[in-house]
């Protein structure tokens, strides 16, 4: 469904993403992990049209979307959320989600209905009238998810929806994400909470210093010496094996 080939993006002299490739097939949940500063968010932003890649190609369902603006990419069925949540602070949760829903319909009632349905889906059904600025961290993460879902995407890019949540909240949102996938949405997620990645993702990509260093099932990735070294430092793999 999503194919990224040899994507590169540099900021000045820093190669944030360096010839990275990845594939997401329809119906999958794919994880993207890597140490801090590995370039995950930059890769996401480039895929979603927020950064113009310097080189490489991104195709969605066979259509080239490289360098297209975000609203075009959204129209093609792919939408992102933000690691640092960006709620529309001064409007209600309902109105926040309706902004997403208006992408599919111009009708106010339809948009409101869709917003309510999505809010219920992510467990915010009782918070519809609260302003965006009133939400807890967990609430904001759910709101990010809800707004993105309201655009009716085929592929959802989730950037650290679990960062900053407590274990109960994490298991709740893991459930929500499972349900979203069951409803037919393919998911690519950046995540630091390894337990969540292991329980959700079928396949995991590991990015380090802008390069894709490994790909495989969560179990295989955890054993990969290159991955261990990326996280724990040079020579760590040997120590672990000993």
């Amino acid at each position: 469904m999503l194919e990224v080939r040899d994507l590169s993006k540099a900021f000045g002299g820093l190669k944030a993403v360096d010839h990275a490739s990845l594939d997401v097939r329809a119906g999958e949940i794919v994880g993207l992990i890597g140490p801090n500063g590995a370039g995950k968010t930059t890769l996401f932003a480039a895929i979603a049209g927020f950064h113009k890649p310097d080189a490489g190609r991104i195709t969605l369902d066979g259509h080239d979307i490289t360098g297209r603006p975000p609203h075009r990419i959204c129209a093609a069925g792919m939408v992102r959320t933000f690691q640092i949540t960006q709620p529309f602070a001064r409007i209600s949760v309902r109105e926040n989600i309706m902004v997403g829903a208006y992408f599919r319909t111009a009708d106010r009632h339809e948009a409101a209905n869709l917003a309510e349905a999505v809010a219920t889906q992510v467990g915010m059904g009782n918070q519809l009238d609260r302003p965006g600025s009133d939400l807890t961290v967990a609430g904001r993460k759910r709101l990010e998810l809800a707004r993105a879902l309201a655009t009716r995407p085929a592929l959802l890019l989730l950037d650290e929806v679990m960062a900053g949540l407590n274990p109960t909240e994490i298991s709740e949102i893991v459930e929500v994400i499972r349900e979203v996938r069951k409803a037919g949405v393919t998911i690519l997620l950046i995540e630091h909470v390894m337990q969540a990645v292991t329980s959700l993702a079928e396949r995991v990509y590991v990015l380090n210093q802008g390069r894709m260093i490994a790909e495989g099932t969560p179990a295989a990735i955890a054993e990969d010496p290159q991955v261990i070294e990326a996280y724990l430092g040079h020579g760590a793999a040997k120590v672990m094996r000993a």
Binding site: Q86, A89, F103, A106, A111, T151
Partner: protein, 317 residues
């Protein structure tokens, strides 16, 4: 309940000029006219968060377009009115296109609008088709079919109608997709982009609308006062006035500009009369500016959502 209150207010506005002396009719006309101009600013500055310091550019374009067509080319001003309105929209689209293509946001956008207004003022001051600094005089021919008025009642009702149209536009914005997108852009541009909003296109659209509305006001002004010059049309005073009434009343609300306009017009008239009651104030002129300034400080510090937030408790933190 609220509908009843609005109906009563509308009825009061309709019969008001039949009950009061001419002076108060003109004050009422000014209230509604300023509220209309404020709403044109509010559409872009309040709802979409695109703060402009140079809305006079649209006002002036409207005033000059209709006046040039009327005075220099013999058009009927009623016919020139829609053309002037369209010109305002065109200039709005042009300024938006140039500024937003260049990625200007926030205070940079505000400054560039100020610069545009100044450029237009200087051009109007030096070009021959605008008669330069002399300004343009519209020959008095007080017939309604000539868009001129013999009594203060006609312009009062026209200003009221303009104000009602602008309220309708603002109301539509709070109820529909376009308005929801504008608010999303105001609240967070990146999030708006991620949710599939073509931020650039929406901003150009809203400035087109705002510019057209404001230009329509420019023509009305020219026909009411029969004289415009570069600083009346493009001066900073008009820009500030539009921004001020909206901020005082409540930016991004339907009734904000109207409330602000009522408050500021009342202060303006009261302070003007205060000097005749208290001779000591004669040398403190214009007193209204001092009161405006003090009030703006209070509003920004204590009531950032304007007077409208006192009437309708908004739900923000």
């Amino acid at each position: 309940m609220r509908n009843l209150a609005l109906a009563a207010a509308l009825l009061a506005a309709l019969i008001y000029p039949l009950l009061v002396p001419n002076y108060l009719i003109t004050v009422g006309m000014l209230m509604f006219f300023t509220a209309f101009l404020g709403q044109s600013w509010n559409v872009a500055g309040g709802f979409a968060g695109q703060t402009s310091f140079g809305h006079a550019v649209f006002f002036g374009v409207g005033a000059y377009t209709s006046t040039i067509l009327h005075v220099s080319h013999g058009w009927n001003p009623w016919l020139a009115w829609p053309v002037a309105t369209a010109m305002g929209g065109l200039v709005g689209a042009g300024i938006a296109f140039l500024s937003f293509r260049a990625g200007l946001r926030g205070s940079y956008f505000a400054l560039i609008t100020l610069a545009f207004a100044e450029v237009f003022r200087i051009v109007a001051n030096s070009a021959t088709f605008t008669r330069g600094g002399l300004g343009m005089l519209i020959k008095a021919d007080s017939r309604l079919e000539n868009f001129q008025f013999t009594t203060p009642i006609a312009p009062y009702y026209l200003a009221l109608a303009l104000c009602l149209v602008s309220l309708g536009i603002a109301w539509r914005l709070t109820r529909g997709r376009f308005g929801a997108r504008l608010v999303a852009i105001r609240e967070n541009e990146d999030a708006a982009r991620a949710l599939g909003i073509d931020v650039f296109a929406e901003k150009v659209k809203v400035l087109t609308l705002s510019g057209a509305m404001c230009a329509a006001g420019g023509t009305f002004y020219a026909q009411k006062y029969l004289y415009i010059d570069p600083s009346i049309a493009f001066g900073i005073d008009k820009s500030v006035e539009m921004l001020l009434v909206t901020m005082v009343g409540g930016a991004g609300t339907i009734f904000g500009p109207l409330i602000g306009s009522i408050v500021l017009t009342a202060i303006n008239e009261l302070t003007r009369n205060a000097a005749s009651v208290f001779p000591a104030l004669k040398n403190v002129q214009p007193l209204s500016l001092i009161v405006y300034g003090a009030m703006l400080i209070l509003i920004v510090a204590r009531l950032p959502d304007g007077f409208a937030s006192l009437l309708w408790r908004r739900r923000h933190a």
